[in-house]
Subunit: 715 residues, 2 copies
């Protein structure tokens, strides 16, 4: 037997190696400005098949044309020892962004990481909630590796002996500038599979490459309007009475509230879960959901996918579960029809069917300490590794489908995602609770094809509470997560007025946020993203500083480049520079062009480093010259589909301004069939006076605008 | 082409899977108490073939017999997706030790790690200098996986759905004792290869399993006598004059000195290296070595294996080097004869050949940031991963051979090792400089088949200096490493007398250390090891404490078991309990049986927890009841082969004492041919008086003993 097997192995290897060594990479333009090549035998199961998304072709067609952005001969690939080795070129000045949702660094050049879905644990080593195998170069192109394996990435950290651009050889004995990390001319990636497909995203700008990636993944999600309001997650063991009281308290105190999150205690048992309402805490869920909906408040339910023996569908599910359990619950194999119909059937019944607005999907990321191990097996034959890389995608895909089937939008939370998840209406969150790093994650989310919320939990003092809350308002989901602490917006009475002001500001800005998310969907522009993607930002050189040159403490001391990771773009026109506890002032690096204070409209600077002392009452926010921010009144709930709202267009600066205001019913997928409108707002100088105008409403298209006013902010 | 390849692949997979699913594990007793099984197609290149060691059969035969220590049907293995999945049973109370040189934990149960040769970086995650794939159970058996791959280990951290011993299902909503880490009934190991060989080491005790592992790997190393003296490593750019002055200073001030280490500056260029003496700093190396040897002082040379274009053999070596460079130096493929003969030829010529006593082999461990990447290729066809796991072994193997060929022993330093390296005369060191964790590493070295030195570098104050020095004296290599700081033993004059006392104590204890290393070689007993391996220790239950039960800060809070990781056994009779900076007192857990103070001979306790307040002048050391410690005079250099020494046998307690004193020429490998002697020292009570005796010297065997005295220490 062994001999026969061996003969076949030899034949196989012979043909295999012969072909691969000879292979030249062939690039096919699969969408405008997107080229694909196939190396070896790519696996059938990958990030795109797991997510089931299709490119948003119409969006891609609208983008500026691009030629292949690299020298084709500089991209090499081979299959060795059952693994695929890739190399992409890298010049001396290039910066690299992406490789997933990193929390501490923006420029990933020089990093070594293993892209691995996991709970973020304090180190940008590839283990994160969305380790998206996509990177963008400051030179204006992107690379996407469509693999559901753990990819080992050397992002300019390796030196090939036969390199055409070798680093210089130094003598450490005598050269004080001896470099422990010599110049590397390539990004090398190890794919632990006998082949893979890769995509090159053209530019000409880095933003264009990001847009192409997002559109190729179906375009960004467009949340329902209410998703962009305010949400409060309740203490884990609350009951229906607690929910009513919470809703009432928000109303009475005048704080906005669009949806309430219920944590594990809505179920009869959790960790592992029954997916059944607890009859004592929630005796009449349907009635409760209905009554809250009448007040324009929705409910979102926490879940993780690990099924308790007490779940009604446990026995039927059992054959379609993994070899290993998680918290003694079985793990549904979401690549089998049977497991899917049972799990998502349970999520539909008495939940989506009675009006539950969405889910918070926990623990589909990791950590290793509780998830299935890499040597678990699944009935579908998909490996534990591939399941780990895609479980969050699968959960998003099929919960989203529950809503798509009803033509109702959802907006929820998830703790694990990956490439392919761009279009799913989910925001990533986690338990790692560092405000500064949360902002860096928000920056990097724009490179990773995901949304991220710097959610607010408990704070140890009023200052921290205010600072975290202010950032949270300028993010994809404005949320207090009180699952463990029971924190309310008014928990620190001494600063409650500031909190209320920002909660209401979130609501006022809803027309802006909604239009900016429409750009995410239709144009692939991330609503929250790095200032590095802003034109005119690249010219500001980061400062170089050396960390520690004590040989004994740091024998491989390296010059550290300080980078900008505490300011970000929020939509087309805003630059946000959060304040952190203890800070009285901070510096902000403004891209070229004039910038204006969001609150006062005053000019602050142009392509320079400014220092601001905003006081506790303000988070520094700046508006581009000519920027228009559409605002509404300080409402307590997002407007309903039929509701009309007043809009005030705030205008900053002196340049002629134009803004595309997006509108649709805010609740259904009808926009996909063209049921939306875009109206152009213009501010121009006529007879030395600023005058606003708006294009006429398109006939037969959604129009939720009531009264319009213009406010010229800049004095 | 692709179709043909595919057909062969299908045939191959068909035969492959058929065979493996049907496979029953067959166990063959390959040495007394050691069983081997083979799963799938093990790779030809593994830890044992890389190190080239053969079992020390005579030693194994002398051990107590053992039956197969586990239920054979509880060990399972299968090959899935090109990887081997192993499972070993684990009962509820079992503790697991080993899995390499860990620095923070002793009991590894519950851990998930990827065994990967690397520089230790602060976390016991499998990345360490010797990630030995061997573990020992408190139930008295050991498991060794002979693979040079990165093994993923789940040490009791996984739960199989179909387990016969499943954990209980809990409801987190209502159960305050909900366990985020349910009971796991197995150790699962993923070997990323299509087969592997594994070995089970019988007991009956955990110590026996350790002995079998060490003897199976050739038996522990027996250093030359001078290796157990004192060594000073000099500032990296010192010259010959500096070396002479250093030797003189030690002599004049009365500090012992057996060998001096030269750091990178002995070479004309370093990082990458020329392996040539720098002509300015060392114009006459042969003369220098000779003159120092006349003073009984040896020289050891730092190297790493990365070769500079300025090395004379660079061009000839080039074809036999890796695809990637390290610090712009080429990486010799040590699995090719050509690379070996060039590199080790350079290490022989003008170095070993003129009397250099050994090497310090740096940077064969990692980190990833400078070593070759996992997608490097080597001319021998051995993968980058396998090279990473074995490079330290290969360097040790072939440098040792240079000395074996001359019938001269060496004793050096290395930063990377693995299973298979037990018999190599090298001690591991690193740049991670935490005194407490250094002691935990010393404990774990005894489970990992390696030696480890808690070397002393610079200290920030006299107390730290003394405390580190005291621990260092009770370790495999007593060393100051001044490569960056230039520190001397007398750097802190206020505590210099204490330092000198302990440096001289190291020399006085040389007969003890030498006999204890003989036990490492002949019996496989690690000279430095956990008190857990001591009989009567297991009964003391560690305290359970919960770390943090704030749900928000620690959502998966777990009861933490406090473990004993700051005391260790040094040879047969000593228990060492180091003091750390800032401590005035400490507790020591004594195994059952009476224990006595090393310095005063006074009784201190029996199977209990004692508290000691030793003052800065002492490191707490305790002696077993009946323990005998052979000591000599406070000499400045190890005795030469022909030299005779006086021995004082110190006796502690009241039980009849016996000690096996080992003797040989101290310098050659002649002991392997039987040229050694073991003399039995006995202390017995005759007429109520303690009387010492020694067996007669064996005729024609080495005997370096001059005058003998006995000292009854216990008052």
């Amino acid at each position: 037997m062994r001999a026969i097997r061996y003969i076949f192995l030899c034949f196989y290897l012979f043909f295999f190696c012969t072909e691969l060594n000879a292979q030249q990479l062939e690039w096919l333009e699969v969408e405008p400005g997107i080229w694909k090549t196939t190396i070896g035998n790519p696996e059938q199961y990958n990030l795109l098949t797991a997510s089931g998304v299709v490119p948003y072709h119409e969006g891609l067609v609208r983008l500026e044309k691009s030629s292949f952005p690299l020298s084709k001969s500089d991209i090499t690939a081979k299959v060795v020892d059952g693994k695929t080795y890739l190399k992409f070129p890298l010049d001396k000045t290039e910066q690299l962004f992406g490789f997933g949702l990193n929390f501490k660094t923006v420029n990933q050049r020089g990093k070594i990481m293993e892209l691995h879905v996991d709970h973020y644990n304090g180190s940008d080593n590839g283990r994160t909630h969305s380790p998206t195998p996509f990177y963008v170069s400051s030179k204006g192109y992107g690379i996407f590796i469509n693999s559901a394996r753990y990819l080992k990435v050397y992002a300019g950290a390796t030196v090939q002996r036969d390199s055409k651009n070798p680093p210089k050889v130094q003598d450490r004995n005598t050269d004080p500038d001896w470099n422990p990390h010599p110049y590397s001319d390539g990004v090398e990636i190890l794919v632990p599979a006998e082949g893979v497909e890769i995509f090159v995203m053209g530019g000409p700008t880095a933003m264009n490459a990001v847009q192409r990636f997002n559109l190729f993944n179906g375009g960004g999600c467009l949340p329902p309007r209410w998703g962009l309001g305010f949400t409060q997650r309740m203490e884990r063991l609350t009951d229906a009475d607690g929910v009513y009281k919470e809703a009432m308290a928000f109303e009475e105190k005048g704080y906005p509230l669009d949806f309430i999150g219920l944590e594990p205690g809505w179920q009869s048992k959790s960790y592992p879960n029954t997916f059944e309402w607890d009859k004592k805490r929630f005796p009449e869920p349907e009635k409760m959901v209905k009554e809250l909906l009448e007040k324009n408040i929705r409910l979102n339910l926490w879940i993780n996918p690990y099924v308790s023996p007490d779940a009604p569908f446990y026995k039927r599910l059992f054959p379609y579960t993994a070899s290993h359990t998680v918290w003694a619950g079985v793990v549904p194999d979401l690549n089998t029809d049977s497991a899917r119909s049972l799990l998502f059937g349970a999520l539909e019944k008495n939940k989506v069917s009675i009006g539950i607005s969405g889910y918070k999907i926990d623990e589909v990321d990791g950590g290793d300490g509780y998830l299935w191990p890499d040597l678990a097996t699944f009935p579908s034959g998909i490996s534990a590794e591939q399941m780990r890389q895609t479980y969050g995608l699968l959960m998003q895909r099929y919960t989203t489908k529950l809503y798509q089937d009803r033509n109702v939008r959802t907006y929820g939370l998830v703790r694990g995602s990956n490439a392919g998840g761009v279009s799913f209406p989910y925001v990533i969150y986690n338990d790692y609770y560092n405000h500064q790093d949360f902002i860096t994650a928000l920056i990097n989310s724009g490179f990773a094809g995901v949304l991220w919320t710097p959610e607010v939990r408990a704070s140890s003092n009023p200052e921290e509470w205010v600072r975290r809350f202010q950032s949270n308002v300028f993010s994809p989901m404005a949320m207090i997560n009180a699952w463990a602490s029971g924190t309310k917006p008014w928990t620190f009475p001494e600063v409650a007025p500031i909190i209320k002001e920002f909660a209401l500001l979130r609501m006022q800005m809803m027309p802006y946020w909604y239009s900016e998310f429409a750009k995410y969907h239709f144009e692939g522009i991330p609503p929250f993203r790095a200032t590095n993607l802003e034109q005119g930002f690249q010219n500001i050189t980061p400062v170089k500083e050396t960390k520690n040159d004590n040989l004994e403490e740091n024998p491989y001391a390296k010059a550290i480049t300080r980078e900008i990771k505490d300011q970000y773009m929020a939509g087309e026109n805003l630059l946000v520079a959060p304040m952190f506890t203890g800070q009285k002032s901070r510096t902000v690096i403004l891209p070229k062009g004039k910038w204006f204070d969001f609150y006062t409209g005053k000019y602050v600077g142009n392509g320079e480093v400014i220092t601001t002392i905003p006081g506790l009452e303000k988070i520094p926010v700046y508006v581009k010259d000519g920027g228009i921010i559409p605002m509404t009144k300080p409402i307590l709930h997002a407007p309903k589909a039929s509701e009309k709202i007043d809009i005030e267009f705030r205008y900053y600066g002196s340049k002629p301004g134009i803004y595309q205001l997006y509108d649709d019913d805010g609740e259904t997928y009808n926009y996909e069939k063209g049921e939306y409108s875009v109206r152009a707002i213009k501010i121009s100088k006529i007879n030395n006076k600023l005058v606003g105008s708006i294009s006429v409403a398109q006939k037969g298209k959604p129009n939720s605008i009531n009264k319009i006013t213009y406010k010229m902010m800049t004095p």
